[in-house]
């Protein structure tokens, strides 16, 4: 049985505090880092969240979905830009992460698309986002909401 670990802001704080990273329910091998999202204007537009998902274990893991109280339809989407410079976006489907590999959700590529927001995304707030894996494991990460013009987790 693998175990998931939550990192990011919370883990960083705990580590700084001299505590070990807490193991949550699920495989210990999935680490989520640098989660961030942009504030929304109202609730009509979809939001997007970004993060790096690392598989530190010996077995492949497959991300099959998302849940969050913030949005009715959270889904991993992928933006692609073709040779003519035209960008399009579509659901990315399941995402397999090999042992020792990581997948980056970042602007212009994969992102957690947050459709049908239940409340506006306000700069300075955070929201919980749960990643669902094919073995039934899940990991919940607290995603900070940055400004609309944010370019990365450091903004």
């Amino acid at each position: 049985m693998k175990k998931y670990i939550l990192t990011g802001t919370l883990a960083a704080l705990l580590t700084l505090g001299g505590l070990s990273v807490p193991a949550l329910a699920g495989p210990e091998d999935v680490v989520v880092e640098n989660a961030w999202s942009r504030a929304s204007i109202g609730m009509n537009r979809p939001g997007a969240a970004y993060m790096t998902i690392r598989n530190t274990g010996d077995e492949p893991v497959t991300l099959i979905g998302l849940t969050t109280p913030l949005a009715m339809m959270p889904e991993i989407h992928e933006t692609k830009t073709n040779a003519e410079g035209v960008s399009s976006m579509s659901p990315a489907g399941e995402i397999a992460i090999a042992p020792g590999e990581s997948v980056a959700l970042e602007p212009g590529g994969l992102h957690a698309m947050l459709m049908r927001l239940q409340e506006p995304m306000t700069e300075g707030d955070t929201f919980p986002l749960t990643l669902l894996f094919d073995d039934g494991g899940e990991v919940t990460v607290e995603v900070p909401i940055l400004g609309i013009a944010a370019r990365g987790p450091e903004d």
């Binding site: 979809p46 939001g47 212009g108 698309m113 049908r116």
Partner: protein, 208 residues
């Protein structure tokens, strides 16, 4: 005997070069070449469209003549590409500092149904103050895209809404209205800023 061999090699060499040229032509310009991708936009002076900026002013291609222009397409319901492009541009403008004051920076919506003047005003307010938001009737947006040789397409989303596929490059025009170059989506700052300076410098040369 020796001379004949040399001639033979020479002929073979010429033949090889001719063949290479032919293969090159075939693959690049000839029937074997790819479909022409992303033709160059026409000059702003050759475009004809009427839009409204986010402050309600009537605008058109002539509004942009006289200063170098950075223009791009998007829509405010776009969660990923458009805020990223707008943030990238805001960063480039910060890098350019005072030089950026000499430029027009225009965000043209491809989704006029949802992007009203008020919507554009609110949206551009979150980014660099130099960025103007332009919207207008669908048929006018189509004329802009045609002049820019840009494309856009409405695509239904599973949520019941729709999203827009669109050209994500940033277009640069000289003060004369001549097309200079474009910056690809998410192009690194080290490449983007010199390209913008090129459009700015072209203006200086034109002015002297």
């Amino acid at each position: 005997m020796r001379r004949r061999a040399v001639l033979g090699y020479g002929a073979a060499g010429v033949g090889a070069v001719a063949l290479m040229l032919f293969v090159g032509w075939w693959q690049v310009d000839g029937p074997g070449g790819p479909e022409p991708v992303g033709q160059r936009p026409v000059a702003l002076t050759e475009m004809d469209f009427r839009l409204t900026d986010h402050e309600g002013n009537a605008v058109g291609p002539e509004t942009l003549i006289g200063r170098p222009t950075m223009a791009f397409f998007g829509f405010t319901y776009c969660p990923d590409v458009c805020p990223t492009t707008l943030s990238d541009i805001s960063g480039w403008l910060d890098d350019l500092g005072d030089e950026a004051d000499e430029m027009n920076v225009v965000f043209i919506t491809v989704d006029p149904e949802r992007d009203t003047v008020e919507t554009m005003a609110e949206y551009v307010g979150y980014f660099h103050p130099a960025i103007r938001g332009w919207t207008g009737p669908e048929e006018q947006i189509a004329r802009v895209a045609d002049g820019f040789r840009a494309t856009y397409e409405r695509v239904p989303a599973e949520s019941g809404d729709y999203t827009m596929n669109h050209t994500a490059s940033v277009f640069l025009f000289a003060a004369s209205g001549r097309f200079v170059t474009m910056i690809d989506y998410h192009e690194p700052k080290e490449f983007a800023v010199p390209k913008i300076r090129r459009a700015l410098e072209e203006e200086m040369e034109g002015a002297t």
